[in-house]
């Protein structure tokens, strides 16, 4: 039952939403933010507080939450997939990326 799964999406331009409860795989969720609604089939378990993609993203694409960039996709991400450190890379404070 999609309506029982609580999620929140902060800004309509965001590419991810947040699970406000654990969401099991193969659940269909409906995410609404202002005038936008996404129907998303969750493909893997999303823990409480974790993010899932509401649209497909290409590798290297900017990932938006709060209407702002929170990092880049390190691989192609499909709608309904868990978005976290395994496929999202922060771009700030990255001393390890500076050529010496």
């Amino acid at each position: 039952m999609a309506s029982n799964l609580k999620t929140v999406m902060m800004k309509p331009i965001d590419k991810v939403a947040i699970a406000l409860m654990a969401i099991p795989p193969d659940s269909e969720v409906e995410v609404t933010c202002q005038d936008k609604t996404f129907k998303v089939m969750i493909s893997e378990e999303i823990k409480f507080g974790h993010k899932f993609a509401v649209i497909d993203m290409e590798q290297g694409e900017e990932i938006l939450k709060y209407g702002e960039v929170i990092g880049l996709a390190t691989k192609k991400i499909l709608a309904g997939e868990h978005v976290h450190v395994h496929n999202l890379e922060g771009i700030r404070g990255r001393g390890d990326k500076v050529a010496t």
Binding site: I70, G71, V83, L88, I91, R94
Partner: protein
């Protein structure tokens, strides 16, 4: 609806006109060698507080100055009635110099040196006698009517999770705006955890100088990581943040900056520096919870709001810290440490505004004497942001 500019609480008026919400006698060790003796005094004399640290010697330049400013600021904090400054004698951070700066506020200050006293036991005896006199004087002081416009409220988040940016931080943002509207000062800090949100804050600056400074201090913080050749993510976001669902520093920062509300940014101050402006002020501190808390306490904050998703015990020897959980499960699990729950926003039971108003009312109560959980558990955390090596 505009807030009443005459909102009041019951506080302690200091000789310099400032207002305290507590009436502590602080045993202030200016050198690590004196921290154990200072602790002993707090065991002997009721009503005294102190803290353990490892600083105060073989420090130079801006690092020396920052530590000095922190010691002085702790003594000057309006929650402190009087101070016994305890030194060893030979250290770089001279107890006498720290005491001299604090005494300018007109509050009672005594200096004890372990070397001059002839050892630890005599220093403890002399310090305890001075402290005992101050405690009795302090106990005779009555609370009086004070105004919210005289409050400086520090805001902080620690042990963040993905709910922080949705529930407790935006609720603290509402409080921050209410404090500013009441004519008071709200401090935003933890520069590291604003990396990625600086452009939004700079847009709210009241003048170009403040906007420029916002980018400067972010750049300096980011360069520290780059100079070390490290990925800042190895320390921030922390493993607990990641477990909670935060994936990058930018994501954490955007959630952290929600604590600042929507007010204009009037000033950016250095670590442990007292704001000169009212309104929303940004203090340049690291994200380290205790170093940030200490900086805000030394900068004159009388109360600190601390949001947490993972749950922390954090408290200060001199400043009540009101801890606010971002989700209901952690509030239930760590209710001995956490004062308020903003998880009701996640549960759909309360709005962000409603929680903000509830926190604002709690500030009034705590400022008038209600103890926070961290005070009851004697969580006397203290840590200085060191910006240079020890020599």
């Amino acid at each position: 609806m505009p807030l009443d500019q005459n909102l009041t609480f019951m506080g302690y008026r200091r000789p310099d006109g400032k207002v305290g919400v507590r009436n502590h006698v602080l045993i202030l060790p200016t050198i690590t060698c004196a921290t154990q003796a200072a602790h002993q005094i707090t065991q002997l004399v009721h009503g005294t507080v102190s803290f353990i640290h490892q600083h105060g010697c073989a420090q130079v330049g801006v690092d020396y100055e920052q530590t000095f400013r922190t010691y002085v600021g702790m003594g000057l904090n309006p929650n402190v009635y009087g101070v016994v400054v305890l030194g060893l004698g030979c250290e770089t951070h001279q107890a006498r110099s720290v005491a001299g700066e604090i005494a300018k506020s007109g509050k009672p200050v005594e200096v004890i040196s372990i070397q001059d006293s002839g050892g630890t036991l005599m220093a403890i005896a002399e310090g305890s006698k001075a402290a005992a006199r101050m405690v009795q004087e302090a106990s005779a002081q009555m609370r009086e009517v004070c105004y919210f416009s005289e409050l400086t409220i520090g805001t902080e988040c620690g042990g963040s999770d993905a709910c922080s940016g949705i529930s407790a931080n935006p609720a603290v943002g509402v409080v921050s705006d209410m404090i500013v509207e009441a004519g008071g000062t709200a401090i935003l800090a933890e520069t590291t955890e604003l990396i990625g949100a600086e452009h939004l804050l700079a847009k709210r600056a009241t003048n170009d100088r403040v906007a420029k400074r916002a980018f400067e201090i972010i750049d300096m913080m980011e360069k520290r990581a780059i100079l070390m050749g490290v990925d800042i993510r190895t320390g921030n976001p922390s493993p607990g943040n990641i477990e909670g669902g935060l994936s990058s520093l930018e994501e954490k920062s955007l959630g952290a900056s929600a604590k600042s509300g929507t007010s204009p940014l009037t000033e950016i101050v250095d670590y442990a520096q007292t704001p000169t402006q009212k309104g929303l002020v940004w203090m340049d501190t690291p994200g380290h919870d205790i170093e940030q808390l200490t900086g805000m306490a030394a900068g004159g904050a009388q109360v600190v709001l601390f949001t947490s998703g993972r749950g922390t015990p954090t408290g200060s020897p001199i400043v009540p810290v009101i801890k606010i959980s971002t989700n209901t499960p952690i509030f239930n699990k760590m209710s001995e440490n956490i004062d308020m729950n903003a998880g009701t926003i996640i549960d759909g039971e309360e709005s962000v505004d409603e929680v903000g108003k509830r926190i604002f009312q709690e500030i009034g109560q705590v400022s008038s004497g209600k103890l926070t959980k961290a005070e009851i558990l004697k969580q006397h955390d203290f840590g200085i942001w060191r910006i240079g090596p020890t020599f």
